[in-house]
């Protein structure tokens, strides 16, 4: 079993998974925060946009979303992010993973915002802060602290969901598994090693999220 794995570039595949995870996590955090701000904004239209975003992306299967990105937007509509198709698939996978997980990040942050007592927002506005200022200085800092634990879950889900990128040909760990299975037949040992790689990637995030959320918790 280890002999089988030594014939393949496992490190390169895991590196692609890590790159996918990190880039998509950054993208998801940025988009998710923006959407969360939209969802708690005082303007009804913006709230509507935020809600639609969450409902659309949270309820679309990730496989469908990624296929739609690479097959639909890139190949058929022609919105290519690179002339090299494998790079193009990777970039679109980052976009798709970011857009999809942004919906969950948004809900995590919104749940954090909801932990901030309404009185604080009212107090912030009544001392003359604008909506943007009250968000930046009062609401979001507390909201992020309150949403560390759910954000950790979203991040773990994201790392595992990067395996879906293999359906659009991104050379990640899941594609390596598909390749090995194609060449050598299905092997329980190889499945186990791949599963362990993901445990190694995700376990520290879970531990970190738990300890951070306790340390950073807003004392009320």
């Amino acid at each position: 079993m280890l002999e089988t794995l030594s014939n393949y570039d496992v490190a390169a595949a895991v590196w692609v998974t890590i790159q996918l995870s990190v880039l998509s996590a950054i993208g998801a955090l940025i988009i998710g925060t923006i959407v969360a701000v939209l969802r708690v904004s005082p303007v009804a239209v913006l709230r509507g946009i935020g809600t639609s975003y969450v409902n659309i992306f949270r309820n679309t299967p990730l496989t469908v979303l990624l296929t739609l990105c690479v097959l639909g937007l890139s190949l058929l509509v022609g919105l290519q992010l690179s002339q090299d198709l494998s790079k193009d698939a990777f970039r679109w996978a980052v976009v798709g993973l970011s857009a999809y997980h942004a919906a969950f990040v948004c809900e995590a942050i919104r749940s954090g915002v909801n932990t901030v007592p309404a009185g604080q927002a009212e107090a912030a506005r009544s001392i003359g802060l604008t909506f943007a200022q009250s968000l930046r200085e009062v609401l979001l800092p507390q909201a992020f602290r309150g949403s560390i634990a759910p954000l950790g879950s979203v991040l773990i889900a994201l790392i595992k969901n990067t395996t879906v990128a293999a359906v659009v040909g991104v050379a990640d760990t899941a594609k390596l598994l598909a390749t090995i299975t194609e060449n050598e037949g299905a092997q329980l040992g190889v499945f186990f090693v791949i599963a362990m790689i993901f445990v190694v990637l995700t376990l520290p995030i879970g531990v970190l999220a738990t300890s951070l959320s306790q340390r950073m918790a807003v004392k009320r």
């Binding site: 296929t67 097959l71 190949l75 058929l76 659009v168 040909g169 194609e182 037949g185 299905a186 329980l188």
Partner: protein
């Protein structure tokens, strides 16, 4: 106590992994392994022209060859149970006895021969290119410079084309259907895999006249009949049936009926000549490896 608990958890995890690994082979596990005269035959369910299930009908070259061989083995068509055999599960299905024979675009390779035995080959396929019917710029693997190519994630075809064509611009999807959509829509210029599979897609009603197989195969895939490792008696019966199928013309009929509509001609080496079949089965395919002959004595 703690160690015991940990080992129980580990055992459960291994079990769960095992279940997920063979979770989708749900079609076949009905009844005993060798119940009477019935045969359990593994085929693809989703490969037009080769092995396709529509409703309760099975069509394709693999299916026709399987039916012929089953008839020669004394099994009526009605007694055949077709079992879905996805590529990754074929060795497991045979060695666990869930199927007796596999006809599923099953290329004979050394790695596979270590786990199972092969009868045949009954068809020599080759990796080829499928392009739009009006495309004259692609005539083979040497003309792929600057072209966009599509294949299935991790497949042998995808790996081979990367070796064959340096710097190939390849996109990979989970199934051929997505590649086909991209090809028809102009997103990619060619789809590559075994020519039989390509011909099957080109011959589909919806694609007729829109696609063509280039016809310059750049690999040789010998489709064999998968069977339990070391079962020489069954292997020889299968080969005798295949030989007869070629000789009485049924083989040609099956190829024409299933792959012909797209103007596909079986590549060089077909039909696998009966003499070639005999040559292969006596030295290569049917016989177990020498060191195993002692462990599992079989009739010469």
């Amino acid at each position: 106590m703690t160690t015991r608990r940990i080992s129980m958890v580990a055992a459960a995890a291994v079990l769960a992994l095992g279940l997920s690994a063979c979770g989708s082979d749900d079609g076949g596990s009905d009844g005993g392994a060798d119940g009477g005269s019935g045969l359990k035959i593994g085929i693809k369910f989703d490969q037009p022209g080769l092995g396709l299930k529509v409703g309760d009908q099975y069509t394709g070259l693999d299916v026709d060859v399987a039916k012929y061989v089953a008839k020669e083995l004394g099994t009526a068509e009605g007694d055949i149970t077709f079992v879905q055999s996805p590529s990754a599960q074929r060795e497991t299905l045979i060695s666990s006895g869930q199927v007796d024979l596999i006809f599923a675009t099953y290329s004979i390779t050394d790695a596979r021969k270590e786990k199972i035995s092969f009868g045949g080959p009954y068809f020599i396929a080759g990796q080829d290119l499928l392009v739009r019917a009006d495309d004259t710029s692609i005539t083979g693997p040497d003309t792929l410079d600057g072209k966009k190519l599509c294949s299935v994630t991790g497949s042998t075809s995808a790996q081979k084309v990367k070796d064959k064509v340096a710097g190939v611009n390849l996109v990979e999807f989970g199934t051929y259907s997505e590649c086909l959509a991209a090809l028809l829509g102009g997103g990619v210029d060619a789809l590559t895999t075994d020519d039989t599979i390509l011909a099957g897609y080109a011959a589909q009603e919806a694609n007729k006249g829109k696609l063509k197989v280039v016809g310059a195969p750049f690999s040789e895939e010998r489709y064999g009949v998968g069977l339990k490792k070391g079962d020489v008696a069954l292997c020889e019966k299968v080969n005798a049936a295949l030989k007869k199928m070629v000789e009485d013309g049924s083989w040609q009929k099956a190829v024409d009926a299933n792959l012909g509509p797209a103007g596909y001609k079986a590549p060089a080496g077909n039909p696998p000549h009966p003499r070639r079949l005999l040559l292969i089965d006596s030295s290569d395919v049917c016989r177990p490896l020498p060191r195993e002959r002692a462990a599992h004595p079989v009739a010469p």
